[in-house]
């Protein structure tokens, strides 16, 4: 692992006497490889290494007795700091129905995660309404309905012929007299470069007050994560991120890249296909996962 690798490098370097800045560069190259291997974005890694180097030099690491451990400590702190922040949850509206929408690329886990969030808040005695606004994917509405049935949460649908922004409007009108606390809107997977489909999302927010816009990202996403998150944030504005399929063995470097580039908090993580497999995001756990 990284601790051992850096330990070995520094042991060899110390053998030649005084440590130099060049020695630190050799070490940081190893950190760079680890981060790239974990799918952290190239440019994000570059900035990260630069910051770690500055902090390392500032901390008089070259005079330290265990510089390898010092570097790891700084790397870890820097990772946690970027990923960081307190455990952010969905911010509930006190005087009207709270509406959240899940967006993201095809297959990232939006529909499943909508149901997981519904299950989570139902267990906290909130009244939930799931809204089926994927009007394209074969059996998408059925998928949400089956999931909703499995947890006793109602699914609002207007079929596949109505525009999503109208579906949300109608859902809210339906929800208010029923005392619904939270509306969760499932949207179709789409490419960030599909102008029409990105416009469809903008229309939802132009015609409705949406309290949370959460980007759902697959933990195995590679370098492209930054492009996706950036475009979604730029075009429709995000309030948070959800990282799915963390029950796999993907290191999840995309989380670091996306957090760094958008500054939006990671609110949840998906850790399985079952409806109760939604967890809070812990920056320190993610940091050690990325470092491998």
């Amino acid at each position: 692992n990284l601790t051992e690798k850096l330990g070995d490098i520094f042991d060899k370097l110390k053998g030649k006497g005084k440590l130099t800045e060049k020695d630190l560069d050799i070490t940081l190259r190893e950190v760079k490889l680890v981060l790239l291997g974990a799918d952290v974005n190239f440019k994000v890694v570059k900035d990260f290494i630069k910051n770690v180097k500055e902090k390392s030099l500032g901390s008089e690491i070259l005079k330290s007795l265990s510089p390898g451990h010092q570097v790891i400590k700084i790397v870890n702190e820097e990772l946690v700091d970027i990923l960081g922040g307190e455990n952010e949850k969905i911010i509930f509206n006190s005087n009207r129905v709270t509406k959240i929408m899940l967006v993201g690329l095809q297959g990232s886990g939006k529909t499943t995660t909508c149901a997981k969030i519904a299950y989570n808040y139902k267990a906290q005695n909130k009244k939930i309404l799931l809204v089926a606004a994927d009007i394209y994917r074969p059996a998408a509405i059925k998928q949400l309905k089956v999931l909703g049935d499995s947890i006793g949460v109602e699914v609002f649908s207007m079929g596949d012929k109505e525009e999503p922004w109208k579906i949300l409007k109608a859902a809210e009108e339906y929800a208010v007299p029923k005392g619904i606390d939270l509306i969760i809107l499932d949207t179709a997977g789409r490419l960030h470069i599909d102008e029409n489909l990105m416009e469809e999302l903008s229309l939802i927010k132009q015609n409705n007050i949406v309290d949370e816009t959460l980007l759902v990202v697959d933990a195995m996403t590679g370098q492209d994560a930054v492009n996706v998150a950036d475009k979604f944030n730029e075009k429709i504005g995000l309030s948070g991120l959800i990282l799915t399929k963390l029950d796999g063995d993907a290191r999840g470097g995309a989380a670091l890249s996306i957090k760094k580039v958008t500054g939006k908090p990671i609110k949840y993580i998906g850790v399985g296909e079952k409806i109760n497999q939604l967890e809070s995001f812990y920056p320190d756990r993610m940091a050690s996962r990325i470092l491998g």
Partner: protein, 276 residues
């Protein structure tokens, strides 16, 4: 990019960035950079045009691999596998459409008996492509649906049988065991059938794509790879480490969500797109 005359440290840095950002991975990237440095020191590469054509040749060498001749059986059976959400079900729809255009009789087997509305999703694709579909109820044993499907496909004189399976993460031992069981059950239905197993890889995947490919190859022996979602901005460079290490060819690419959005893999087109 790469419009310098000379090859210098900046050019190499730009190439490193391009390759890493295409998900080619650090091993292959540094390997290639090293080769370029050597060649340019020997005076064999004098400008960036020569570097690019050198690189394109190296890439082609990696992707064009020998594929063993498979005896064509009737029915020809294709098992489609991969992790969750990569595009297996949709790709089966596209494959069916492509085969039907050629006048073949196509059957789909709804082997995903787990996920909500997976069967309904495949049924819609069967209708769209005028394919026969074999399904049981949700929650049925996947291997038994496949067994029944193969027998039905043989008796109905199908040319092609396409088997949809549930998405599964490769680190889930019991789910990978289920795939082994499915393959065995096909053999049990008819020992003469040669199964073509296609692994679907999402072009947005990072280095985990290589680990997926290794695991699936080890458990069910992969014959080909389908790289989906290339209509996005991801370059799909993960196929370089996959193909070079596992020697499995990329056979198709997915370029959209529609029934026609499937192409045969063309390594030259793919490699040119890498440099765009």
């Amino acid at each position: 990019i790469l419009n310098f005359g000379e090859i210098d440290a900046d050019t190499l840095e730009e190439l490193e960035e391009l390759f890493i950002q295409s998900d080619i991975g650090t091993n292959i990237t540094f390997d290639l950079i090293e080769k370029i440095e050597k060649q340019s020191i020997l005076g064999k590469l004098k400008n960036s045009d020569e570097v690019i054509s050198f690189l394109k040749k190296e890439f082609i060498k990696t992707l064009e691999i020998e594929t063993r001749e498979k005896k064509s059986t009737k029915p020809s059976v294709t098992l489609v596998v991969g992790v969750n959400g990569v595009g297996k079900t949709t790709t089966i729809g596209k494959l069916a459409h492509h085969l039907k255009k050629g006048g073949s009789k196509v059957m789909m087997i709804a082997g995903d008996t787990f996920r909500a509305a997976a069967i309904e999703q495949l049924e819609i694709w069967a209708k769209r492509t005028d394919s026969v579909i074999v399904k049981h109820n949700e929650g049925a044993d996947s291997a038994s649906v496949v067994f029944d499907g193969i027998n039905s496909g043989i008796s109905k004189n199908m040319d092609f049988i396409l088997i949809d399976t549930a998405g599964r993460l490769h680190n889930k031992v019991n789910l990978m065991k289920e795939l082994e069981k499915i393959k065995n059950v096909i053999k049990k239905a008819n020992d003469n059938i040669e199964i073509e197993t296609l692994l679907v890889i999402d072009s947005t995947s990072g280095q985990n794509g290589l680990i997926q490919a290794r695991s699936f190859k080890q458990v069910v022996d992969i014959d080909g790879i389908i790289l989906t979602k290339l209509d996005g901005t991801a370059k799909g460079g993960i196929i370089f480490p996959i193909v070079s290490e596992l020697k499995v060819p990329v056979v198709f690419i997915g370029v959209g969500e529609g029934v026609d959005d499937l192409r045969f893999f063309d390594s030259e087109d793919f490699i040119s797109a890498l440099f765009d």
